[in-house]
Symmetry: C2
C-alpha cells in the first residue's frame, strides 16, 4: 500500500506524453480554445501545439469547433474535447452495494448503476465489479477500446491503522493489494482512493473548483472526510490515507469531529427524537419541514464544521473549501450559508478572490463520479513544473 512514486527522468517520448496531457488540460479548462493560445499558456511553439493537436484529433480526442474571431488577425480554429474520445470508469465499493458510473472525456456520466452486495470478500466484490464494468460496456459499446482506466473508491483507511475496524472499512481487504486485484480483474489501469479524496477531484473536473489548483474538500459520507488538492494533484499522504479529519478531537460536546458532523451523527441524533431516517430523501423531507430535531443538530453541526474549516484553512491555506457529499442539496446549502467562518484564520483576508466556503456536488453518486474523475484528471493534468 506504500506508494513509491517513481522519480523518473525525461526523454522525447515522455515529454510528448506530458505535452499531450497539458494540451488536453488546457482544452478542458477553456472548453474551446485555439492552438496559439494553448502554445502561449504552455510556453511551447504554435508549431508544436499544432502537431500535438493533429495527433490528438487523429486519436479522436478532439474536435474542431469553427473559428473564433478576436480582434485583428486570422481567427483561431477552436478545439474542444470530443466526449467519445475516452471514458473513465468510476466504482464505489460500499459495505452494502457497489456503485458504478461511466464518464466520457468531458466528465459527463453516460451510464450509472448500483448493485447490492451481500458480502464484501474480495472474490465477491471483484466479481461484481467485473460484471458492472461489462454491463457498462454493453450499455455504451462505443466506450470499448477507449477506456482510460478505472477509479475505485473503497472505505478507508487502507492497511492496518489505529482507526481501522471502526465499522467503516471492509472486512477481508486489510492485507490485500486491492489496486492490483482490480486491475487484473478488469484489465484497466486502476487508481484506488477513499471517498473524500475522489469526491474532491470531481470538483476539479466537472464541479465548483475547475479553475482551482489548491483547495480543500469536506465530504459527508458515513463519517466526515477531507480531500486536499495541491498543485492540481491529490495530496494522498505516504500511505494513501490522508484526509481522515473525522477522527480529530474537537472542543465542544463531542469527542471527535464526525460525532458532530456526519450522516451517522445526524441519524443518531434523529433516532433519539424517535425518527428513524435511513436515506438522503427522508433527510431532505425533514429539512424541508424544518424539523426541530434536525434543526438543533444542524446548529451544533455548523459549529463543528466551522472548527473543521479553521483547521483546514490554517493548515493548507487553500483557495477555497468545498463542501459536498452524500447529503441533501438543501442541507449542504444550509451549511454553506450558516457555518461560522473563523476570524482567526489565514483565509480571512480582506479581498479574497474566492468565497471561503462553497458548495460542491451532492447526492449518492458523489464519490462514484469522483472515482472516475481521478482517471480523467490523470489524462487532463500534467504535473506542474516549478518555473525558474
Amino acid at each position: 500500500m506504500i506508494s513509491t512514486p517513481l522519480q523518473q527522468g525525461s526523454n522525447a517520448e515522455r515529454s510528448r506524453h506530458r505535452n499531450r496531457q497539458a494540451v488536453l488540460g488546457q482544452v478542458h479548462l477553456a472548453g474551446a480554445i485555439g492552438r496559439a493560445e494553448i502554445a502561449r499558456a504552455l510556453a511551447l511553439t504554435t508549431q508544436t501545439v499544432s502537431n500535438i493537436i493533429a495527433e490528438l484529433s487523429d486519436d479522436g480526442m478532439l474536435i474542431e469547433k469553427g473559428r473564433l474571431s478576436a480582434g485583428r488577425g486570422q481567427p483561431a480554429i477552436q478545439y474542444a474535447l470530443k466526449p467519445e474520445g475516452g471514458y473513465a470508469l468510476g466504482v464505489e465499493v460500499r459495505p452494502d452495494a457497489v456503485f458504478a458510473a461511466l464518464l466520457d472525456l468531458t466528465g459527463r456520466a453516460v451510464t450509472t448503476e448500483r448493485v447490492a452486495l451481500a458480502r464484501t470478500d474480495p472474490d465477491i466484490v471483484l466479481d461484481h465489479v467485473t460484471a458492472v464494468y461489462a454491463h457498462a460496456l454493453d450499455q455504451v459499446p462505443r466506450a470499448r477500446g477507449r477506456m482510460l482506466g478505472a477509479g475505485i473508491v473503497m472505505p478507508g483507511p487502507f492497511g492496518l491503522t489505529g482507526i481501522a475496524g471502526m465499522g467503516t472499512d471492509l472486512t477481508g481487504w486489510q492485507e490485500v493489494d486491492a489496486a492490483a486485484l482490480f486491475s487484473k480483474a478488469i484489465e484497466l489501469p486502476v487508481v484506488l482512493s477513499n471517498d473524500a479524496n475522489a469526491a474532491a477531484m470531481a470538483e476539479r473536473i466537472t464541479g465548483a473548483a475547475q479553475e482551482m489548483n489548491s483547495y480543500a474538500y469536506l465530504y459527508f459520507g458515513a463519517g466526515l472526510g477531507l480531500g486536499l488538492i495541491h498543485g492540481g494533484q491529490l495530496v494522498r499522504g505516504a500511505y494513501g490515507n490522508a484526509g481522515e479529519i473525522g477522527h480529530i478531537p474537537v472542543p465542544g460536546p463531542h469527542a471527535k469531529l464526525e460525532d458532530a458532523v456526519s450522516r451517522q451523527s445526524v441519524q443518531r441524533h434523529l433516532l433519539a427524537a424517535e425518527l428513524d431516517v435511513h436515506d438522503i430523501d427522508a433527510l431532505d423531507q425533514l429539512f424541508e419541514q424544518k424539523n426541530a430535531a434536525l434543526m438543533t443538530w444542524l446548529d451544533t453541526a455548523c459549529d463543528a464544521l466551522g472548527h473543521a474549516v479553521a483547521i483546514v484553512e490554517n493548515l493548507f491555506d487553500p483557495q477555497t473549501v468545498v463542501l459536498g457529499g452524500a447529503m441533501p442539496n438543501g442541507i449542504l446549502e444550509h451549511f454553506v450559508a450558516n457555518t461560522p467562518l473563523p476570524d482567526l484564520s489565514v483565509s480571512n483576508r480582506p479581498h479574497a478572490p474566492h468565497p471561503r466556503l462553497i458548495q460542491g456536488a451532492s447526492g449518492r453518486m458523489t464519490a462514484t463520479l469522483g472515482a472516475a474523475a481521478l482517471i480523467l484528471n490523470r489524462a487532463l493534468t500534467a504535473p506542474l513544473s516549478h518555473a525558474h
Copy 2:
C-alpha cells in the same frame, strides 16, 4: 502574493534541465553512486546519464570518487556532489535581527552571521540583507558566480490575513512583493517562506528526513509552526501560508495550540514562576536542573503536542513527524520521548517502517539553514511524474 504556478510544456532543453536535477538528486541521496545505477533509478539509459554526468562534472558540480566493486562486472566509477559546485544563501529576517548562512551544495554551512535590526521597514531590511550577502561572499570568495539562489524566511503569515498583527509579523511588509524586492536587491533567484516551511525542507536536505518524500514537521519558533513535504516538495498552500497550526483551537486548558506549545508559552509560564528566561541556553540550563516549573509546563506541552500530532497524522498520513526548531536539544529529546502518540490515528500501524515522531534540527539557526535548503532542494529535486 498569489503564486500562479506556471503549467509548462516540455521540450528538449527543459527535459535536460529536469534530468540534470534528477541526476544531482540521486547523487545527493546516495552520497556516492555510479552512472548505471542512476540510469536504472531514473529510467534513463546509461549513455544519457553518462552525458549528463560529464556535463555536470564540467560545470564543477560533481567529482569522481574512485571505483566501487560490487560483485561481478566492471566496478562503477562513483560520483559525489562537489561541495564548491554551488552555494545557497539562507536568510532569516526576524523582528530584531537578520540571520544568514551560506551553504555549499552538500548542505554544509560555510559561513553564518547575525546582525541586529533596529527597525524592520523594507528599506532597512533590504540594506542589511544586501550587506550580509556581500559579507558572506567576502568570507567565501569561491562562492562568487556559483550562487544558486537565496531562500528568505520571514515571519508569516504573508499578506493580509485574519491572523496578521498577532505580534509575529513584520510591520511595513504586508503589502509589498517581498520576493521581488529581495531578488532585485541581491540579484539572485529568491524563494520566500515562513520559518516552519523552511525548517521542514532542511530535514530533507541534511537532516532526519533525507530518504523521505512525505513528512510533516512541527517547528518551535516564537509560536508553533507546521511544514508539510509531499512528494519531495513543500505544500505551501495557495498563498504561501500553509502550516499555521499554532492558531488551531484545541481541547484542554488553552485556547489555541501555541498557547500550550511554543517559546512564548514557556516564557509566559516561567515568568509566572518568577523566572525570566530569554534565550535557548537559559532554557537548557533550567531543563538540566529539572526545574519544577519547566517540568509542569513540559507535561501540558506534551499533551498538546500529542494533539497536534494527531491532527497532522490524520490529515496528511505522513511517513513521520519531525520535531525541531529553536529549542534546546534536550527539550526536543524530551518531547520526542514523552509526547503521547494517539491511538486513534492512521499512523498507528503495527509494522510502521519509521518511528511516528523523530527529532530534527535544533538551535537558533534552524530556520536560516532551512531557508538555504529551499534553494538546494530546487537544485536537487525534479518534480516527480506520476508513473503510468
